[in-house]
């Protein structure tokens, strides 16, 4: 009897192992396909006319972002409202891609309006503009919200790259 039970248990474990192996293999397959499709989509949708705008904040910043509104040459191109988790993600070193799309070459003005709470709990709304030239390369612009410890305030800073 004990031998029968042992055999049954082993068979059940083998079946479970088989199922686990199949699950792992399929998960890996989906993961790789998802990766390849993301790359394909990127190749298809975005050529050298691509521009991406990012947002980051100082790690552990005492401010709290509520939302951000983004315009390019006066046209609205993005809005994001931050959940607590998303804000934590930013303050732990995450960088958010606010916009990704194709834009015309030439001079452009990017404007970001941020609302939030300052370290002393007061709400604020601040805007900043940035002028840049889109050339033949893909454009990457990062808007950084930096702490200004001396003034107990924060400031905006832009970084721009051509890929």
């Amino acid at each position: 009897m004990a031998a029968v039970i042992l055999c049954l248990t082993q068979a059940s474990m083998a079946q479970d192992e088989g199922l686990s192996g199949r699950i792992q293999s399929i998960k890996e397959g989906v993961l790789n396909l998802n990766r390849d499709l993301s790359l394909l989509e990127d190749e298809l949708m975005y050529a050298s006319s691509e521009a991406s705008f990012y947002l980051s904040i100082d790690a552990g910043s005492p401010i709290r972002l509520v939302d951000i509104n983004l315009t390019l040459d006066g046209n609205h191109i993005g809005y994001h409202f931050y959940s607590e988790q998303e804000f934590q993600a930013l303050s732990q070193g995450g960088i958010q891609r606010l916009y990704n799309g194709n834009i015309e070459s030439g001079r452009h003005t990017l404007e970001a309006t941020i609302t939030g709470y300052s370290p002393d709990g007061k709400d604020f709304r601040k805007s900043t503009q940035y002028e840049f030239t889109k050339g033949p390369a893909k454009k990457r612009i990062e808007l950084r919200v930096l702490d200004d410890l001396d003034g107990q305030k924060h400031r905006f800073d832009f970084r721009e790259w051509d890929e």
């Binding site: 989906v30 790789n32 990766r35 050529a47 959940s83 050339g135 033949p136 905006f156």
Partner: protein, 663 residues
């Protein structure tokens, strides 16, 4: 004079011509200031672009992955990291932390083999102390989750994990406490437990688990002491309060088993009446009173309980206990009615269990357990955390709580939900791929038609732009730095220039004139020259500024021409490229994966269904046993009533005989 004139007019024509030519392609809208801004922060920045090097590319790519990771979109984070690796962003430079994160994500998705390979590869490298400690820690987690207790302890207690951040240090202690609890080495488990603050959720769960484990191994007083720390926690959220109730119940049941009625009663009274463990608490409180020989005090508690959901195990037990208490109190009719009510309820519950078994076979009951998808997100992240199962409806749900509480079911159900979400993701790609294919076909046909004319126009535009750029540069170099009144027309303003030209014409006309007219003209000329000379410095600066702008604008036109040239190269690659083949490959892989996922989901569902049927069969057996007991009790009470009647009747007869004899 003629030479001066021609130079001056050429200069002005040049300036106007360039301005007109450049205004056309560069008419970017000018930004106005928003009126509703509370603060205009800084003046507009004007940036200069740097080339995006590998480090910057990694910085942005890893930052995005971190954002997804900490925002709870772990599958996205893992996909991003895989995309980055495919693009060659890993392997060189400071990418250790990204690889560590990738390993952790593999582990979360249930791919321990991939995770371990990554960790081992990382550990062969020179790492920062903290990264090395975290990599070893993740290896420990991997062994822990695989149930390799000894290996997990070996890794998590080794020097390799020294230097972990505080948050991971608490997790390490918790895992080690659980591992030693599993070995029944409570002394070691307690050592690690002290490292976890009691007032955290982790600490509370650890204390609870430890308390229960100690009681099971016979160390009652220490176990109860630990459970008390949980029971006495301040009120918190739903989960904390439920854990407090559970601790109080565990203390009460332990004390009851040891016939320590006062302690049991005190603990059970801490269980909230509206909490998830109130049924068990009422049952146990009744038992405390009953075992103390006070069925009268037990009865109201059980009578309250029998009015609750009859699917609950505690309620089903109370159905037999309440009439038993009546019986002990000598209330036979109430007792009989109680047993009959119990039998009826068990019979009804048996019918419900049968229905539940049928429904498990017929209906997609697992669908009801899945967490609801927020409407804003089409496909939930396959790796996002699962909440407790929410039983929305259906008779089977009441009976499956035991199943839901099992670790094995939770593990398999998690696999089921992940696979289901992966299937949704594949479905989303299945819908998107035709649109992408159409986009490619349209792009190809439109680009093929447009390419030749665009190339021709581009050659012309390039030539024009170069000419204009050369002219603009020449113009800048032709403007003398300092204004000179040798050529007043070069430094005159617009109105002054017109006046100056008129004066010159009149001078020519009145070349031979003399007297008053010539004198007046000479005075006007003098005044005009005075005005021109006065504004000359300002005019020259303005001219230099305009000329500088023209250089910038011609350069910008050059940038735009280059952009179009790049787009033409992109388009050529697109038209001639092998994206079609790539699409076919993806279609094939997608179709095959969808078939595999569907088959696998069916198999996983079958495993879960078998588990559920097993639980329901066990419930059916228990209900059948209870029904048998209820029927026996009814028969017993009825028998006792009949014999009591007989005794009473025979007692009455004896009394009558005695009375008759007396009379």
């Amino acid at each position: 004079m003629m030479a001066r004139e021609s130079r001056g007019s050429a200069f002005s024509r040049h300036l106007r011509g360039l301005t007109l030519a450049l205004l056309l392609p560069c008419s970017a809208p000018v930004m106005g200031q928003d009126s509703d801004k509370l603060v205009q922060f800084d003046t507009p920045d004007q940036g200069s672009a740097n080339p995006l090097g590998r480090e910057e590319q990694r910085y942005l790519a890893f930052g995005e992955a971190m954002y997804d990771y900490y925002s709870g979109r772990k599958f996205n984070a893992l996909t991003r990291l895989l995309v980055n690796r495919k693009q060659g962003l890993f392997g060189q430079g400071d990418t250790d932390y990204a690889e560590l994160l990738m390993g952790e994500l593999y582990l979360t998705l249930g791919l321990p083999g991939k995770a371990e390979a990554l960790f081992d590869k990382l550990l062969e490298k020179e790492l920062l102390r903290q990264t090395r400690a975290e990599t070893w820690f993740q290896k420990g987690v991997l062994h822990y989750e695989e149930g390799a207790r000894d290996k997990a302890i070996e890794v998590l207690e080794s020097d390799n994990v020294e230097g972990l951040p505080q948050q991971l240090e608490s997790r390490r202690s918790l895992m080690l406490a659980n591992l030693y609890m599993g070995r029944k080495d409570f002394a070691r488990a307690l050592e690690y437990l002290y490292d976890i603050p009691d007032d955290t959720r982790q600490g509370a769960y650890a204390n609870y688990n430890m308390g229960v484990a100690m009681i099971r191994s016979g160390q009652h007083s220490k176990g109860i002491e630990l459970l008390r720390t949980v029971m006495d926690l301040a009120k918190g959220d739903t989960e904390t309060n439920a854990l407090k109730d559970r601790a109080a119940l565990a203390i009460g049941l332990t004390a009851l088993r040891r016939e320590n009625f006062a302690t049991a009663r005190g603990a059970l009274q801490n269980v909230r009446a509206d909490g998830p463990f109130s049924n068990e608490a009422l049952l146990a409180l009744g038992m405390v009173n009953y075992d103390r020989g006070n069925p009268k005090k037990a009865l109201p508690l059980w009578l309250e309980l029998v009015q609750r959901d009859p699917g609950h195990k505690a309620v089903q037990e109370a159905l037999m206990l309440a009439p038993r208490a009546y019986e002990d109190l000598g209330a036979k009719p109430q007792s009989l009615a109680g047993y009959q009510h119990a039998a009826d309820t068990y019979r009804q519950e048996l019918r419900n269990v049968e229905t539940a078994i049928r429904q498990i076979n017929e209906i997609e009951w697992l669908e009801k357990l899945k967490p609801e998808t927020p409407p804003e997100r089409a496909v939930p992240d396959p790796m996002s955390d699962l909440d407790d199962y929410t039983a929305k409806s259906g008779p089977q749900m009441t009976y499956l709580y035991k199943l839901f509480a099992s670790h094995e079911f939770a593990r398999m159900f998690r696999q089921y939900v992940q696979l289901d979400r992966l299937r949704m993701l594949l479905g989303q790609w299945e819908r998107a791929l035709p649109a992408m294919g159409e986009t490619l076909a349209r792009q190809k046909s439109e680009l093929s038609a447009a390419m030749d004319p665009v190339r021709k126009q581009l050659v012309t535009a390039r030539q024009q732009q170069r000419k204009l750029e050369t002219r603009a540069h020449k113009l800048v170099s032709d403007i003398p730095a300092r204004p000179s009144m040798e050529r007043p027309e070069d430094v005159a303003g617009y109105e002054e220039l017109i006046m100056w030209q008129r004066v010159q014409k009149l001078e020519k006309k009145l070349d031979n004139a003399s007297g008053r007219q010539a004198e007046r003209l000479r005075r006007v000329r003098g005044l005009l020259l005075w005005d021109i000379a006065r504004d000359a410095e300002q005019q020259r600066q303005q001219q230099q500024r305009h000329a500088g702008n023209l250089v910038e604008k011609t350069a910008l036109a050059g940038v735009r021409t280059q952009s179009v040239e790049q787009l033409v190269r992109d388009a050529t690659r697109r038209v001639r490229g092998d994206l079609d083949e790539s699409f076919s490959d993806k279609y094939r892989r997608l179709g095959s994966l969808q078939d595999e996922v569907n088959a696998l989901i069916d198999d996983v569902k079958q495993v879960l269904k078998n588990d559920a049927l097993e639980v329901l069969a066990e419930r059916r057996q228990r209900l059948a046993d209870s029904l048998g007991q209820a029927r026996l009790a009814i028969a017993r009470v009825q028998d006792e009533s009949v014999s009591d009647d007989r005794q009473q009747r025979s007692g009455e007869t004896t009394n009558t005989d005695e009375e008759a004899e007396t009379q």
